[in-house]
């Protein structure tokens, strides 16, 4: 049954080479913890991706209840966390996952740095990886404000003051992020839009680039 469906599609689209490129390849010994236990450092990239998938899913589900509006944002977050079944877990996944992604990504970056894997011909992949890192930090920053509690509010005020202290462009950046003259309704909707649409879109594009390059160039050789 499955075989027939697969063949039917394959006849039309020739998908075999595509998925083989993605999934069917040999993994060398030096990254395999079964042969060298120290090779576990190579798993952090995959774990980052796994947590990122959880972040995307839990974020999608959270928007079923969340409203980006200063009157209702807090109430909706409190409602989904305390009144909705599994709300504590789903919000917990998104909250703690945000930290975990940073941890995993940091470890992955360190692995790539200290094994010198960013060297030719993989320079571009390092740059893309760093851009992913910055986007993740941006996601953390914009997501922090969304519950609209005191912690979020005051941290965001400080962040915007830091942005303001950038020479020449500072006030413009600040006002762009803030959307108005105070941290308020317009700031919240802006951060929401950045957090939910703009940054994830950029993130997905960069991730696709990251993976294509990995498959194209293979894992870096043994040291």
């Amino acid at each position: 049954m499955f075989k027939n469906v697969y063949n039917w599609i394959d006849e039309r689209l020739d998908v075999t080479p595509i998925w083989r490129d993605v999934a069917d390849h040999e993994v060398p010994e030096h990254v395999n913890p079964a042969h060298h236990f120290s090779a576990f450092v190579y798993c952090f990239g995959g774990l980052t991706f796994f947590i990122t998938v959880i972040q995307i899913l839990s974020g999608m589900f959270l928007t079923m209840y969340y409203v980006p509006d200063i009157i209702n944002a807090y109430a909706s977050v409190e409602y989904l966390q305390t009144k909705v079944a599994f709300g504590q877990i789903v919000r917990g996944m998104h909250h703690w996952g945000a930290s975990l992604v940073i941890v995993m990504m940091f470890l992955h970056t360190m692995r790539v740095f200290f094994t010198g894997s960013y060297k030719a011909p993989r320079e571009m992949n390092w740059v893309v990886g760093m851009l992913i890192f910055f986007i993740m930090l941006g996601l953390g920053l914009t997501g922090y404000l969304l519950p609209w509690d005191n912690k979020a509010y005051f941290a965001t005020k400080v962040t915007l003051e830091i942005a303001n202290s950038v020479p020449w462009l500072g006030p413009i950046i600040k006002e762009f992020l803030q959307g108005g003259t105070i941290v308020g309704a317009e700031t919240l909707t802006r951060f929401f839009a950045l957090h939910v649409f703009f940054l994830p879109a950029v993130l997905l594009i960069l991730l696709v680039g990251h993976f294509i390059m990995i498959r194209r160039q293979g894992i870096s050789g043994p040291l």
Binding site: R20, D21, D24, H25, E26, F50, V53, I54, L57, S58, F61, M64, Y65, N72, A75, S76, E78, Y79, L80, K83, V84, A85, F86, G87, I89, V90, M93, R215, R216, G218
Partner: protein, 180 residues
């Protein structure tokens, strides 16, 4: 880029007919691990999303509306306030009921929401059709009992009603039971 495929696992012996090969075993285990991870991550979220469906619908409370003694044969309009908790949003809806006593002295309350397209009907507000409910939107008409005479497909809904200590309490809306 897939000339790596040429590699052949030397330890891999062709399996017997009925036995499971190592590769198959690994594939099944991998499938199991995948399913486990997917379920572990997604099930809480799915339960979270379907929560409104699984909520017990409350019986709906009754709200004190008017003294029984004020009700006459003629339908009278009374409004009452229903407290609603809509997720995190608490609000009060002002509802209206047309209450009258029928010939046997039984009291019933009609909802003024027209069964045609949901406008609000009024009692005796069209001079050409006296003593009828009339909907200004498309001219739907109903009798005192709420029976549909024109345009509307169904009779007007009634409120659940109970009488305690001389006061009338109204509850949720239900299909009309007065019309025979």
């Amino acid at each position: 880029m897939s000339n790596q495929n040429e590699h052949h696992e030397p330890s891999h012996k062709p399996p017997g007919r009925k036995e499971m090969s190592r590769r198959q075993f690994l594939t099944y285990t991998l499938g199991g691990a995948t399913a486990y991870m997917a379920a572990g991550a997604v099930l809480p979220m799915v339960r979270f999303a379907v929560d409104p469906i699984l909520h017990k619908k409350g019986e709906g409370e009754f709200i004190k509306v008017v003294e029984e003694s004020k009700i006459t044969d003629e339908p009278q309009e009374f409004s009452f306030e229903l407290k609603q908790q809509d997720g995190w949003y608490a609000s009060t809806a002002t509802l209206t009921a047309w209450i009258r006593k029928d010939e046997q002295g039984k009291i019933y309350a009609l909802s003024p929401i027209c069964k045609h397209l949901g406008c609000t009907v009024g009692w005796n507000n069209d001079k050409s059709f006296p003593d009828e409910y009339h909907c200004p939107c498309h001219g739907a008409r109903y009798t005192k009992e709420g029976k549909n005479l024109a345009v509307a497909p169904k009779p007007l809904d009634t409120y659940k009603l109970k009488i305690e200590n001389g006061w009338i309490y109204l509850g949720g809306v239900e299909p009309n039971t007065e019309v025979k």
